[in-house]
């Protein structure tokens, strides 16, 4: 599949109808999502024929991208039942198989490093402090090959240190810096649109 094609499919997906601010529900746009997964597969071989988990999957954009790039199994995890319903509909529309689990990802316990790759656009920690780190910690426990994650560029040094020192990372690299366009989603947003500098990270866990 070509990048433009992938971006096209992802652009058709349904997004949050009533986003919940306390969960930091923002859609992962097709531009970022397609590039993230395309790079994961083309540069690192981390998606096709692999077991891929999407932590905080929301409406399933990253899950859908993984499925379209022929992951052999895709599992989306989220706490919000409404998002999971939308994600299920999206998977049906695209005619791809995605399993979904309702859970608190930060409390989830899987049987060790049972997935190959985790992809995620976690909360940045603006509502619940430290949420971004909790998601990263959780992801590093279950991935055997790689974790791909988006974090604010302003947290770059902090993330790198925590990943290498506390979260069992063999390596932690910023693959690229992106501008994340956030449209005015919530009443408290003053500007029509704002863009935030985010880093796309690739973490490689040590094998347990």
């Amino acid at each position: 599949m070509k990048l433009k094609q992938l971006e096209g499919f992802l652009g058709d997906l349904q997004q949050f109808s009533n986003p919940k601010v306390e969960l930091e529900q923002y859609p992962t746009g097709p531009h970022i999502a397609s590039r993230m997964l395309f790079t994961a597969e083309n540069s690192y071989g981390d998606i096709t024929d692999k077991v891929v988990a999407d932590f905080g999957c929301g409406c399933g954009t990253l899950s859908a991208a993984a499925a379209l790039l022929d992951a052999s199994c895709v599992i989306g995890f989220d706490v919000d039942p409404q998002s999971l319903e939308t994600a299920t509909l999206n998977a049906e529309e695209l005619e791809v198989e995605i399993d979904f689990v309702q859970c608190d990802v930060t409390k989830l316990e899987l049987k060790g490093q049972v997935v190959d790759t985790v992809v995620m656009n976690p909360p940045f920690g603006t509502r619940k402090k430290g949420a971004d780190m909790e998601f990263l910690s959780a992801a590093m426990k279950v991935a055997s090959r790689a974790v791909y994650s988006l974090h604010k560029t302003s947290t770059r040094e902090h993330i790198k240190r925590a990943a290498l020192r506390d979260f069992n990372a063999k390596s932690a690299e910023v693959i690229c810096e992106l501008r994340y366009d956030l449209p005015k989603l919530y009443k408290f947003h003053k500007r029509k649109e704002v863009d935030i500098a985010v880093d796309l990270w690739r973490f490689e866990p040590r094998q347990n």
């Binding site: 024929d49 052999s72 599992i75 859970c103 608190d104």
Partner: protein, 121 residues
């Protein structure tokens, strides 16, 4: 929920030691065909907890899996059964039960709800 996923799940209630596998109580199971990928299946064979898969498949009405996984050589007829059990059986309605605490995690429209109550964390 498919058995490939069930095989990874554990009960995360505080204090529970025997966390997995979760017993399946199936109310509605549907079958969805998935492309056969023998290389992927061989790769998964090493990672899957076999007994949990056999028991899980039985709870969903599929009894064709052998009690023990074959040794090094896995031939196509076996892989086809493994494929069907692992990837094509979908639990739509039912529960996942923690063998130690008895806690039931409901499965609705194929989605298991693993959210814990406050006291369980």
């Amino acid at each position: 929920m498919r058995l490939i996923m069930h095989n990874m799940l554990t009960c995360n209630i505080k204090g529970v030691i025997n966390k997995s596998p979760l017993r399946i109580e199936a109310e509605k199971v549907i079958k969805k065909e998935v492309d056969f990928n023998p290389d992927f299946l061989r790769h998964m064979l090493a990672k899957i907890e076999w007994k949990a898969l056999v028991d899980g498949a039985r709870s969903m009405g599929y009894t064709e899996l052998p009690v023990h996984a074959p040794g090094i050589e896995s031939d196509e007829p076996f892989l086809r059964k493994f494929h069907h059990a692992l990837l094509e059986l979908n639990l739509e309605e039912g529960s996942l039960v923690c063998q130690e605490s008895g806690r039931k995690f409901p499965v609705n429209k194929g989605v298991p709800n693993m959210l814990l109550h406050e006291k369980e964390v």
